[in-house]
């Protein structure tokens, strides 16, 4: 029984982290068909922003979060205007450009902060014991944030004009254009929103982890696995995929402690297995139907 509780709680926590990252990535792909490999690099930049604001400037972590979200969103919009928008129609080029962008961020952070491992303070310190399992308040915050962000996104997409424009663009870009929707502006707003979500994720998750310039790579792999499993561009799929992989990781750690290092590989194997059975992912559009 104890083992089951451990697995459920660990799975929910890991799944929430993956979900937070995957939702933003999925959003920009669903709307603008941009595979933004630099998504987790923005998360890394946000982490360093918080470090600077809290550790170098001495402000409260909340101010660090605000600064990180604002600055990284701006950085995302500028990057979009300069590097992605001019080549948007060439999907392969966008992919390569975002890889280059991520590497550039990594190198810049490496030059400024070296490869030393750093950390930032938690927004809420301490832990709570749930059914005998110790869970950080920050982890509970992550779980809550994942649910809130999904609800907020749903409200934005379903209840606002911008959401209507985003959905129309995601459904058919050309028709949306003909109906008077400024598709380029919608794509830019979505990019801002997506990068903002990456920054927010960084702000919430980073106090639980270690800062270093390569910290974006592992989450990138897991995030890609989540969105491919859930179906590229599907928010619902990303959310569900995140928790499936979160539980897969928890199962490995608790049932095969000697193979705990395999948790990422097992999660990726599940993704491959699902793709073999259902190539479009759990909730994705099948490749043949894609525009």
């Amino acid at each position: 029984m104890n083992l089951l509780i451990d697995i459920i709680i660990s799975g929910l926590i890991s799944g929430s982290v993956f979900a937070l990252l995957a939702i933003g990535f999925s959003l920009i792909f669903g709307v603008a068909r941009i595979v933004n490999i630099a998504h987790t690099a923005f998360y890394m930049v946000a982490a360093y922003c918080i470090y600077v604001v809290t550790q170098r400037m001495g402000f409260h972590p909340l101010w660090g979060m605000v600064a990180a979200i604002v600055l990284v969103t701006l950085l995302g919009i500028i990057s979009y205007k300069l590097f992605i928008n001019p080549i948007r129609e060439h999907h392969g080029a966008v992919l390569i450009a975002t890889i280059a962008l991520a590497m550039a961020f990594q190198e810049v952070m490496g030059i400024i902060f070296t490869g030393s491992y750093l950390s930032v303070p938690k927004l809420i310190k301490g832990y709570h014991v749930i059914l005998g399992v110790k869970v950080f308040y920050q982890q509970l915050l992550t779980f809550g944030a994942a649910l809130l962000i999904l609800a907020g996104l749903w409200a934005l997409l379903m209840r606002t004009k911008l959401g209507l424009a985003v959905r129309s663009t995601a459904q058919d870009r050309e028709v949306a254009n003909l109906m008077g929707i400024n598709e380029a502006r919608v794509a830019m707003a979505t990019m801002g929103l997506s990068v903002g979500l990456a920054a927010l994720t960084g702000a919430i998750v980073v106090p639980l982890t270690v800062l270093e310039p390569h910290m974006w790579m592992h989450p990138l792999v897991m995030m890609m696995a989540v969105v491919v499993l859930g179906g590229l561009g599907s928010l619902k799929g990303s959310f569900l995929g995140a928790y499936i992989l979160g539980f897969a990781e928890a199962l490995v750690v608790f049932l095969a402690p000697m193979g705990a290092f395999l948790k990422g590989s097992v999660a990726l194997s599940i993704m491959i297995l699902v793709l073999l059975i259902r190539p479009e992912g759990l909730f994705g559009v099948s490749f043949e139907e894609e525009r």
């Binding site: 104890n2 083992l3 451990d6 709680i9 660990s10 926590i13 890991s14 982290v17 550790q55 490496g110 070296t114 490869g115 030393s116 491992y117 750093l118 950390s119 303070p121 301490g126 832990y127 399992v133 110790k134 869970v135 950080f136 982890q139 639980l208 982890t209 270690v210 270093e212 390569h214 910290m215 592992h218 990781e249 928890a250 750690v253 608790f254 402690p257 000697m258 193979g259 705990a260 290092f261 948790k263 990422g264």
Partner: protein, 439 residues
């Protein structure tokens, strides 16, 4: 316009070339020493800092006497980038021996990268003194194929087998303290080892040594070396009722493991090897939650293995504002191992230096260096471990300071005299452990 573009490109390339060939002191009558390591990381910075200190100290005295002339030391830095790409490490080593034409090489960190680096140095007959990698195979190669591998020497640390032996002594020491202070009849040990080549012999050794010490193995956990969240592993360890966690970490996982265990107040003390906990930055990286974490180490402020330690540690702290870790042993390797032999023989010829280096017993900043032979009497160029030679230290984070707790009245054998280094303090049990077990 096109001409301008080309000009800028050529200038940029020239600049990059100049930067990549960064050297300290330049001249013809110099002894060129290649310092290879992951320079963007603390380990590589330790390599470079130690070597810089050595070069500055020797050059300030006019250099090394080689026959009739004094030769200054010229350091050549090579970034192996070995944490991320082993190929970069071999390229850096190739550059040192072919383009920079160094006389000697010091450094290297990850065994996986040092093995191919070693091959390149050996092919080019360059003396390569390893400062970082611990795998036994590096020296076993010397015994198996002396003609090829005789140019390799281990500088620091001693090999995985001895690292294991030392950490088991630490484990036994802390286990006895727990047993005595908290009245735990049988201490349970969780082994937490990152998934890496060098940890395998230590785990195997632990499976035999721990029961032999009268303790019980509660389980073995193998997180990824770069795991950033180990709360699931820690929950499982807590469920196993372990009193002691035997850590075997050299990568970044040592930080989240220590930090999260401290934050969750996991009632089990950490002892073993945690390379991240050897660094001053550990306290900040764990936000103080790494308090009471114990690890093997080479240096600690205020601890003296011999009469050379204090001057080295104090000067290093003054110069670089941090405590040296074992990769800074490039200092001892140059000052205590290499320079005296060059002066003694008056030559840079490896063929003449090697026979003296492999038999010479001398003091370094962390103990006395002597090289071992294998059971068949073949040279290994492997460091000798044990009282009177190199033992390393057991250190523990105590309220923001890294304190030495071992060797402190250590008896290597029942009849042997006690060994205590200057500056040792008692080991401290975390208060939440005392609270849980001392009724």
């Amino acid at each position: 316009m096109e001409r301008w573009g080309k000009g800028i490109l050529i200038l940029a390339m020239a600049f990059l070339f100049a930067v990549s060939s960064f050297t300290v002191v330049s001249g013809q009558d110099t002894i060129k020493i290649g310092v290879i390591g992951p320079m963007k990381f603390v380990q590589g910075q330790g390599h470079w800092n130690g070597a810089t200190m050595a070069a500055e100290e020797i050059n300030a005295k006019g250099g090394i006497q080689v026959g009739a002339k004094k030769m200054k030391i010229e350091l050549v830095q090579a970034d192996s980038n070995e944490f991320l790409n082993v190929t970069d490490a071999t390229t850096a080593m190739e550059r040192l021996v072919t383009k920079d034409k160094v006389h000697f090489i010091v450094g290297g960190f990850r065994t996986e990268a040092v093995l191919p680096m070693q091959d390149i140095a050996m092919e080019n007959k360059k003396i390569f003194i390893g400062v970082g990698a611990a795998h036994d195979e590096l020296c076993n190669r010397v015994a198996r194929d002396y003609k090829t591998y005789k140019y390799w020497f281990r500088g620091s640390p001693f090999n995985s087998t001895f690292l294991g032996r030392t950490s088991f002594v630490h484990l036994a020491t802390v286990g006895a303290i727990l047993k005595g202070s908290l009245n735990i009849p049988k201490v349970k040990v969780a082994i937490a080892a990152e998934k890496a080549e060098w940890t395998e012999p230590l785990i195997k050794g632990g499976e035999t040594a721990i029961p032999a010490m009268g303790m019980e193995i509660a389980g073995i956990w193998r997180p990824s070396p770069v795991a950033t969240d180990v709360t699931a592993e820690l929950s499982a360890i807590q469920r196993s009722d372990a009193h002691l966690i035997f850590t075997i970490f050299s990568s970044s996982v040592g930080i989240p493991f220590a930090r999260q265990a401290g934050e969750l107040k996991i009632p089990a003390v950490q002892v073993g090897i945690n390379v991240e906990a050897q660094k001053d930055g550990f306290w900040q990286a764990t936000r103080g939650m790494g308090n009471y974490v114990a690890t093997m180490n080479t240096y600690a402020r205020g601890v003296e293995s011999n009469e050379l330690t204090k001057a080295f540690v104090d000067t290093y702290v003054k110069r670089f504002n941090e405590t040296p870790t074992y990769t800074a042993d490039t200092y001892s390797v140059i000052v205590n191992s290499l320079a005296p032999v060059i002066e003694q023989l008056g030559t840079l010829d490896p063929e003449k230096l090697i026979p003296v280096m492999e038999t010479r017993v001398h003091k370094s900043c962390s103990g006395t260096v002597a090289y071992l032979k294998d059971a068949e009497g073949r040279h290994l160029h492997e460091l000798r471990w044990g009282p009177g030679f190199l033992t390393a230290l057991g250190v523990q984070w105590q309220d923001g300071e890294l304190k030495g707790f071992w060797p402190n009245k250590w008896k290597p054998a029942p009849e042997a005299p006690e060994v205590t280094y200057k500056g040792m303090v008692p080991y401290k049990i975390p208060p939440w452990m005392i609270e849980k077990y001392k009724k």
